[in-house]
């Protein structure tokens, strides 16, 4: 199978960190705060690497959008088994306002450029909880989507996806190329071990700018304020 999989990995504030709102209330404090790969993205990477180990896909490409620091996140994906990485450079104000609409445009452009057959993303990021990027990407590409996947199987040239829904589980069959978004029970991600981190340093990460992909990352949204919720039950 000559399939190529694109996997999106997002660098987010680590889930165990206590978030603090910036004094000017424009966002949360990120400087020096522990960041890690979005847990659902870890699951997406694991699924892609498993497909490669089963020899159902040929190449796994990890993609992240953001400033220089996202390269660490891409390296973790490479250490887990991705073959190469693409760093889409977005920094400063553009990075603060980067959201699902722009990211999905970037992924759609990359999918065409890299001739991807499958895109696997986490179902949502734990910082914005949008749960939109996978769906928007599929729409832009006019590809079928299997979201909230808890099981993915390749059957001939179709993808069987078991989806986690409110009432239980829904099984669908979709044509390739397709977009899949990973839910919690899809798999248990492997550790990025030290020897693999060392080997990952030799794997290639290409840099690309959104403009090179014909994508405008300016935002149509303006954040008015970010506030901490008052804690219930305290005087």
């Amino acid at each position: 199978m000559s399939a190529r999989v694109l996997v999106g990995v997002k660098r987010v504030i680590d889930y165990a960190v206590k978030i603090r709102v910036k004094p000017d209330r424009t966002g949360v404090v990120t400087d020096g705060v522990k960041h890690s790969m979005n847990p659902f993205c870890e699951i997406a990477v694991e699924e892609a690497v498993k497909l490669k180990e089963k020899k159902l896909v040929k190449e796994v490409v990890a993609v992240s959008c953001g400033p220089q620091q996202v390269q660490e996140t891409i390296r973790t994906a490479l250490a887990m088994g991705a073959d190469r990485g693409i760093h889409v450079e977005v920094s400063g104000k553009d990075y603060e306002t980067l959201g699902p609409l722009q990211v999905s445009k970037i992924f759609a452009a990359l999918a065409k450029k890299e001739q991807a057959d499958l895109i696997i993303l986490g179902k949502q990021a734990i910082d914005d909880d949008c749960n939109q990027t996978g769906q928007m990407t599929a729409a832009l590409l006019d590809w079928p989507q299997g979201t909230f996947a808890s099981e993915v199987t390749l059957e001939a040239d179709k993808l069987k996806v078991v989806r986690e829904i409110d009432g239980g589980l829904e099984t669908i069959k979709i044509n390739l190329p397709a977009v899949v978004t990973a839910d919690l029970r899809l798999n248990t991600p492997r550790y990025a071990t030290l020897p693999n981190i060392m080997k990952a340093k030799k794997k290639k990460i290409t840099n690309v700018k959104p403009a090179d992909l014909g994508v405008d990352v300016s935002s149509r949204l303006e954040v008015l304020k970010v506030e901490k919720l008052k804690e219930a039950g305290r005087i």
Binding site: Y15, R20, P23, G32, T188, T193, M198
Partner: protein, 541 residues
């Protein structure tokens, strides 16, 4: 299952001030002499600086030796000390004590820093020079050659369930071999503990004595903020026979931030004493509360620190390895500074090792390098002189008048004689042996935390961002689990069925302070390193 192994010239355990200074110095020497050197640093925290905790008031001497242009390179030394205050607290009052020039607690020329950020900056300097940094990987085992010399380290196996069985994601750790391994694990390192026994490094020195330091970061009311103000106190709430005191530093980092904390000597005798609750109680003193009122606590953490000083310095070098930083312990206790000496020790280790590592005639596949030059250089350095001059101050507290006796001794012998008195006072023995039986001591009535100035332990631990992969064997191991006493992570819970209590270890909450391993009277607790990248996620502590 075989472990993957890799070779480096030098492996450094611990990415703190000592380890990173050693790495930087090695690379500087390599570039000066046009040699290639592979230097790898393994650090258990998920990112460099995430397990760093200190006051801190930094003396820039070692930094200026290591990186003379630190200012141009953007080192985060943003707060020069502008005001230096020392006082003795009573329950309601504050008695100021003048800090005469020459006293160890005089901070002129020093900087208030967020040490975690400084360490992060050191890490960036190291990476620029080509040092390989591996945060998130804990060295859990020392490897030995057949001849008994140190061969390197191994990281821990990951993916082991709570009951010890391998999970699906089980992976063996890896081995990193080196010509010489530098151990810079900080105060009471767990690998250092093994090395002391293995090579009998503590045969000729007193046992190390410790204190626990608890710290919080607060954003205070701007009107109360005086950047550069450095305050220290002794006295209340501790009695005169319990060593300890407080610090309160006004940082100049953009917002009205203060770093404050409390240190309690771990040779305290009353088992009812809780260092954490003393800290919380101290904040209610009128002179402290006035600074904190209207403010907001944003971070908490704790770490053990060394107090043994000169008398407790072990042998520093052994075949295949060297000890650097707070691990052997070079803290100047009356100054409460150990970063500058830790950095200098790393630099000395690097300089002593360099010529031997690059000497082709000394290369061996079967034996680690033995570098006694480090110990010699150390004895000739300013660290040795400095620690010698203050050696008697901490032990001088072991008298009937406790704190006051100590202060009188310091005034006479240190301020006037600069530590030149010909005798060397001894410490009192192991901290673990100091606790008196509970029946001989009076319980202490601690006030309940008010949720505004003082807080409970669990919400404090939550603020440290501490987390560990929950399905792993507990890293606080007991040699014999039939008896236990301790504070932060241990509790006796009633058995689900029947009578009696069972010991519950909430290793999840561990902030890696190491106090349990130090203070346990039965010395039953053995702290081992959990899976890498677990533990606190301090940001600029």
């Amino acid at each position: 299952m075989e472990r993957f192994a890799d070779e480096a010239d030098v492996v450094i355990v611990g990415g703190g001030p000592a380890g990173l200074s050693a790495a930087i110095r090695l690379k500087q020497l390599a570039s000066q002499h046009e040699k290639e050197l592979r230097v790898c640093v393994v650090e258990k925290a998920s990112q460099i600086g995430a397990h760093t905790l200190s006051g801190a008031c930094l003396e820039p001497t070692a930094l200026s030796e290591l990186i003379p242009d630190w200012k141009e390179r953007g080192a985060p030394l943003n707060t020069p000390v502008t005001e230096d205050k020392f006082s003795i607290l009573t329950e309601k009052y504050r008695i100021p004590v003048p800090i005469l020039p020459g006293l160890p607690m005089n901070n002129h020329g020093n900087y208030l820093v967020r040490l975690g950020h400084f360490v992060r900056w050191l890490g960036e300097q190291a990476e620029e020079l080509g040092v390989e940094l591996y945060p998130g990987y804990a060295a859990s085992e020392v490897l030995f050659h057949e001849d008994g010399s140190v061969k390197g380290i191994a990281t821990n196996d990951v993916g082991i369930a709570k009951d010890g069985s391998p999970k699906d994601v089980f992976e063996r750790g890896m081995e990193l071999h080196a010509k010489v391994t530098l151990f810079g694990e900080g105060c009471h390192g767990h690998l250092a503990k093994q090395l002391y026994k293995q090579f009998n490094l503590r045969g000729n020195c007193e046992p190390q004595t410790y204190a626990i330091g608890l710290k919080e970061l607060w954003v205070i009311d701007e009107k109360k903020w005086c950047p550069g103000r450095t305050e220290h106190s002794v006295g209340w709430p501790l009695n005169r026979n319990t060593y300890g005191g407080s610090f309160l530093y006004h940082l100049n980092e953009g917002e009205p931030l203060v770093a404050l904390g409390f240190v309690v000597g771990l040779d305290y005798t009353n088992p009812y004493l809780s260092p954490f609750r003393e800290f919380q109680r101290w904040k209610h003193h009128p002179s402290i509360m006035s600074t904190l009122e209207g403010g907001n606590r944003i971070a908490y953490g704790a770490r053990a620190l060394n107090e043994g000083g000169f008398q407790s310095i072990p042998k520093l070098t052994f075949p295949g390895g060297m000890l650097i930083g707070c691990s052997p312990g070079f803290m100047n206790v009356p100054k409460i500074k150990g970063t500058h000496t830790a950095m200098k020790s790393g630099m000395l280790a690097a300089e002593s090792a360099f010529s031997k590592i690059t000497d082709e005639n000394l290369q061996s596949e079967t034996a680690g390098l033995y570098i006694p030059e480090y110990e010699e250089a150390f004895k000739k350095s300013w660290i040795w002189k400095e620690l010698y001059s203050v050696r008697n101050i901490r032990p001088s507290f072991h008298n009937y008048f406790g704190l006051y006796g100590g202060m009188v001794y310091t005034g006479i012998f240190y301020w006037i004689l600069r530590g030149k008195e010909p005798w060397t006072l001894k410490h009192n023995g192991l901290d673990a042996d100091q606790l008196k039986p509970a029946k001989d001591c009076t319980p202490i009535e601690y006030p309940k935390p008010d949720g505004k100035i003082s807080f409970d332990l669990l919400s404090s631990v939550a603020l440290s961002g501490t987390n560990h992969e929950h399905d792993q064997p507990p890293h606080l191991t007991l040699k014999d689990d039939s008896t236990q006493s301790f504070s932060c992570v241990y509790e006796y819970v009633p058995l689900e069925t029947g009578d009696g209590m069972r010991l519950q270890i909430n290793a999840q909450n561990c902030v890696h302070c190491k106090t349990c391993d130090i203070k346990d009277p039965s010395q039953n607790i053995n702290w081992v390193v959990p899976e890498g990248s677990g533990g606190p996620a301090y940001n600029g502590m």
